[in-house]
């Protein structure tokens, strides 16, 4: 398979995304009312959007691991792990987000 690192990236992206969400690890924050990006929490300038930061955190972390894993290891990884890990991430996410419906 060409570009086996893409399997690693896709397999880990959801894991890093949900970790970034749960542990508040957004790389940056956007304050839409002030129209400002900040690296750290900034009070007094309105509501905050963390979603962009979670995505970038997950993309950078999974890309770093995908690049670091040796090609032979990536080639041996069955593509089934991509959907299995992602399905587990989705299930964990849905369980956590039950908080909105109780």
């Amino acid at each position: 398979m060409r570009h086996p690192a893409m399997k690693i990236f896709s397999m880990l992206f959801g894991v890093f995304y949900i970790a970034a969400f749960y542990f508040d690890l957004a790389l940056f924050r956007y304050y839409p009312e002030a129209r400002q990006f900040h690296w750290a929490r900034t009070d007094g300038i309105g509501v905050v959007i963390l979603w962009y930061g979670w995505i970038v955190t997950a993309a950078l972390a999974s890309a770093a691991v995908a690049v670091a894993v040796p090609r032979t290891v990536a080639e041996r990884l069955s593509p089934r792990w991509v959907w299995i890990v992602t399905t587990l991430v989705v299930i964990v996410t849905l369980i956590y987000e039950r908080r909105w419906f109780v």
Binding site: Y17, Y52, W54, I55, P79, T86, V90, E97
Partner: protein, 156 residues
Amino acid sequence: MIVVLLLLHGLLAVALLGAITHQALSVLPLAPAQARRSFVGRFRSVNGPAYATPIVVLFVVTAIGGALLYPQYRVDVRPALEDMQNSAANGVFEIKEHLIAIGLGLLPAYWLLWQQPLEPGAAAAARRALTWLLALFVWWGFIVGHVLNNIRGMLP
């Protein structure tokens, strides 16, 4: 401007929904020859690999459109939902943003698996599963987006 962007986002979502649904049904096991002449059979009988790149492009562009609309939602819509004590509406939107983000991460492997003919086995099963996961994410995002866009008219 925001209305134009919302309409564009919705139209792109319709195109994405159609494409991913065609492709998701195309990866199901082949039906008997007679069934292939039915509406569902014809709906399924598309060239799945030809859909992969357009789906990736549509997914990314639609997600970018959603990301551009998100500040308006965060500032105007979400506080209104909180005032209405409608936490379920906020919850389904939270799930939508998670699924779309996770879907963005799946795109590289999904695209890669559609770039080569696959024998039945783990890779073909993975391609089918990733396609169905993406279809689930797109359907969830589409329905939630429409419901929230019209929620004031839907609730008493």
